[in-house]
Amino acid sequence: MILSLAAALVLASPQTWTLDASRSQVSYQLVHKLHQFTGTDHRLQGRARVLPDGTVQVEIRGQVKDFDSGNSNRDEHMLETVEAEKFPEVLVRALMKGLVASGTRDGTARVEAKLHGVKQTEDVPLTVSFPTPGAAHVTGVFNESVEGFGIKRPTLLFIPINDAMKITVDIWFNRDGA
């Protein structure tokens, strides 16, 4: 009786996961008529929570200044463009339903990204795999609109970059207490 009550309590309590910053990265790719470039952030913070009904809540935070495109001047320009002095963070929240914690699964997550103080929400295809019981690997590629975040598109030689910003996600989570 006591054991079954304990089991029910365990199943009913949310399970939490923490982002493994040493293996995770998020990058953006922007395209200009003359070239394209990618900026990557390896210094992310994140947590995930699996609710008893199987809904997964995820929150990931990055600092705009941590994105490295291999060109310090361009990175500085990006800080200026996204007004990093006022909006230093990129915050992503995601909801995924019906996730089963085993094998590899393709699914769609409702993602809310906040950049430049502006939120954009959309459905994003993601692949989630569980290589070991205590680890989860999330990958995905999707596009966001630069102007959708209220950002004036930066220019090079007076030509603005394309509006589409390709986001690539490669994130690892470790289950707390695993």
Binding site: T16, L34, H35, Q45, G46, R47, A48, R49, Q57, V58, E59, R61, K65, D68, G70, N71, S72, N73, R74, D75, E76, L79, E80, E83, A84, E85, K86, P88, E89, R93, L95, R110, E112, T155, L156, L157, F158
Partner: protein, 167 residues
């Protein structure tokens, strides 16, 4: 989505206004810098072409008419002024954010290339004046060739510096 899984971050201090002003000034200066950069590239191309034509005319069996000299001098002066203006705008632009990133990147290549181009242009002026002053002397051809070669090296440095920004 109304859930918070991470601790709330501290709101930023309102030193933002000062940074904003510096950003605005930097953006304006670097936009104008790009304009002068494009102008410099076009003027440099003209300077090199007329310099080669002038050299061929004077020392390559072209009849030594001197018909490209004035145009070359004018373009050279305009290139120098445009280049210096572009350089000053970049050097004097305020830096609103602390620079944390070290190491070599494409901007490093841009800056070093422009330094080589600056040295090239600075040496071309006295070299050109000296070459003209050697009219009638045996070494004028050698000096003119040196001026020509330094001109090509300067143009190559300029092209390298500009191209580096596209990577």
């Amino acid at each position: 989505m109304d859930f918070d899984l991470l601790p709330q971050s501290q709101p930023t201090a309102s030193a933002a206004t000062d940074v904003e002003k510096r950003i605005k000034r930097r953006r304006t200066m670097l936009q104008v810098h790009q304009g002068f950069g494009i102008a410099t590239a076009a003027l440099m191309a003209g300077t090199v072409i007329t310099g080669q034509l002038n050299y061929s005319d004077r020392f390559g069996g072209g009849g030594s008419s001197g018909r490209f000299e004035l145009l070359h001098d004018g373009l050279e002066a305009a290139t120098t002024v445009s280049f210096a203006t572009a350089g000053l705008l970049a050097l004097l632009a305020p830096v609103p954010f602390d620079r944390e990133k070290e190491g070599v990147d494409t901007v490093t290549v841009h800056k070093w290339s422009m330094l080589v181009a600056t040295i090239g242009m600075a040496s071309e002026i006295p070299l050109g004046i000296y070459t003209v002053s050697r009219e009638g002397y045996v070494n004028q051809g050698t000096m003119a060739l040196t001026h020509l070669v330094v001109g090509y090296v300067t143009a190559a440095a300029l092209a390298t510096g500009a191209t580096a920004l596209f990577f």
